[in-house]
Amino acid sequence: MRKQLVYAFLCTAAISGILAGCSSKSSATESTASPQKTEAASKDGAGTGGAAGKTFAIVTKAAGNPYNEKMAQGFQKVIEAEGGTCIIKHPESATADAQVSVIQSLISQGVDALCIAGNDENALQAALEEAMTAGIKVSCLDSKVNKDSRQTFVNQAGTTEIGQALMDAVYDISGGEGDWAILSATSQATNQNAWIEAMKEVMKESKYSKLNLVEVAYGDDEPQKSTDQTQALLSKYPDLKVICAPTTVGINAAAKVLQDEKSKVKLTGLGLPSEMAEYIGNDDAHSCPYMYLWNPIDVGSLGAYTSIALVDGSITGKTGDKFTAGEMGDYEVIGASDGGTEIILGPPFKFDSSNIDEWKSVY
């Protein structure tokens, strides 16, 4: 009996301690916020300065991926330069489930802003809505979540810009006519599906009428399955000229298959320079003449400036909002195709034999 009383007392004490800790922490942040803010503003001048004393979190798709790592670095650099505290969260696996638990822990930590690269467009809605209700400014970058789950989306390259760039690459490499195929990630990958749709849209122009898209194959971003799919494409379509793989794992596996088999089929798509350096070149010995991607550091940086602008109130995520992203220049929030809003970083960046050596060490 006495023991139970002691336990009860201890529990109450612990709970009140936690509560006290929380409240004192938040008041401490508020009180120190103003001096730091002026300091950051004077130090940085051009910066928005609203980051001081605030906590900004970035949630990537999964741990252990250099692309995600660079994006987080870009985010962290801007946040810290602006005087804020940065939390980087890499979920253990590239699933929505793993991200939900990360989001929930961030809500309980009481961060000011959360910028997420969604592993699923819809599955994160409940968790992200909970975050917004808790007063956290929610934006997404790299891979979007649906319009109700976000305030705005930092789009690494406009869907139409990517669709156009990839279609032009296919047109150019194939010589303007013939069979080509797409090797994508999973059939429900948000990014890839949007780009493939955009490519199909571009294909409707009469210029591309001689190009024949024979199949969209899905390698599930697994080297093994992507290899099977690439080999199947090669044996099913003997007249195939180009494979377009808008996914980093897929393009890597396909490049390996094509180069090992000394196939005449050429490859383009979206890939990491460091992973693809071995396969990029204009001669027959290389399977990929050129490919595209954006700079993940810039994606992270723009995500950080967007989070800061959301937190200091200079934008709310509505269409027409404008803000300055430090040295990156001025950006405007525009309407996205899904009814939400987005901020577009710029057109994708082309990697070919002339610049791959310079970029392969970057990411």
Partner: protein
């Protein structure tokens, strides 16, 4: 004598499995004539080498009544070790790298074996823990870096060359063959092999008859680890890329290969030939689905259905064969 042999063949689970495999291949061949070509089959073996080799280790683990779901994490850890050693220009010798990979795997496996055998932790719980630990370690040593084709230098050529296969067979396929031959011989004709079966079919009886069951358990988990380690190096060579999330979730494919091959989940029953046929059936399905022209989106569903159909067909066929054989006895 002839009848006896025939009975022996038709009575075995492997015979009906082989029948399933042949039918499967024939059906696929009708839909896609390019399936049964030498190149296509060699491609398939190379692309499934990792699963096929690990199925051997899993066979032993399942035989002693255990299970190991940490294998792909061990694979990732050894693969990343190889990748990082190459990336930072520490070791370039292919043979040495393979030995290191096997050693890493052996250590990982031995630790699991120790925990399961000495610590008497349930295998599924213990290996689940190690699944996270080893995968985490793979991420740790990777430090968010991948080793790409460019970093791998001459090592990746191992998966392209045929020197072990005397210029005919790809090195990777030779390794698969060698593993299967060794395991076939060991499991059938050596004391150790028979001890593994004994421990699985009746641990108490095995212990009473003087078999050190703990040592056998330690041995099978170490073997499993060694094979997973070897596969780590193989996977890096085959895909020219070392990533910490290598083969994430594929341990289920390895277990499925064994189960399709008639290996009992409760221990004591299963053969090397079964593991081979099981993993071949899985490999054929993975290779064939994109070839046959089934819509990509439904491929996984079809894969599941085929696996179930194969198992059901196998069970039915076997019962029928047994019935036939029993009839023969009455005569």
């Amino acid at each position: 004598m002839e009848k006896k042999l025939l009975k022996k063949i038709t009575g075995s689970r492997e015979a009906s499995l082989f029948l399933v495999l042949v039918i499967l291949c024939m059906v696929i061949q009708i839909f896609s004539p390019s399936f049964l070509t030498a190149k296509s089959i060699l491609d398939m073996l190379k692309n499934n080498a990792v699963i096929m080799i690990m199925a051997l280790g899993m066979l032993c683990v399942l035989l002693v009544g255990g299970i190991d779901i940490s294998i792909t994490s061990t694979l990732a850890l050894s693969g990343m070790t190889v990748g990082m050693l190459l990336k930072y220009n520490i070791i370039h010798n292919t043979l040495l790298l393979f030995l290191i990979a096997i050693l890493v795997g052996a250590i990982c496996g031995a630790i699991i074996g120790f925990v399961v055998a000495r610590g008497k932790v349930l295998p599924i719980i213990a290996t689940m823990g190690f699944m996270y630990i080893y995968r985490g370690l793979a991420y740790l040593i990777a430090r968010s870096q991948w080793a790409s084709a460019e970093n791998l230098g001459g090592f990746k050529n191992f998966a392209l060359e045929k020197e072990l296969g005397l210029g005919i067979l790809n090195n990777v396929i030779v390794i698969v063959l060698v593993c299967y031959i060794i395991f076939f011989a060991v499991m059938k004709w050596t004391k150790t092999g028979r001890k593994i079966y004994a421990v699985g079919s009746n641990p108490e009886a095995a212990a009473v008859s003087g078999i050190n069951t703990k040592r056998i358990k330690l041995l099978v988990y170490t073997l499993m680890g060694m094979l997973a380690g070897l596969c780590g190096a193989l996977a890096v060579a085959v895909y020219s890329s070392a990533q910490p999330n290598m083969l994430y979730g594929k341990e289920m494919d390895v277990i499925a290969a064994c189960v399709i091959g008639g290996v009992s989940m409760s221990g004591g029953r299963g053969t090397v030939a079964g593991a081979l046929l099981g993993s071949l059936i899985l490999a054929v399905i993975a290779k064939a689905l994109p070839l046959v022209g089934i819509d990509s989106i439904v491929q996984n569903t079809v894969k599941g259905c085929i696996i179930l159909a194969v198992i059901i067909f196998n069970v039915v066929a076997q019962r029928m064969m047994q019935k036939e054989n029993l009839k023969g006895r009455e005569m």
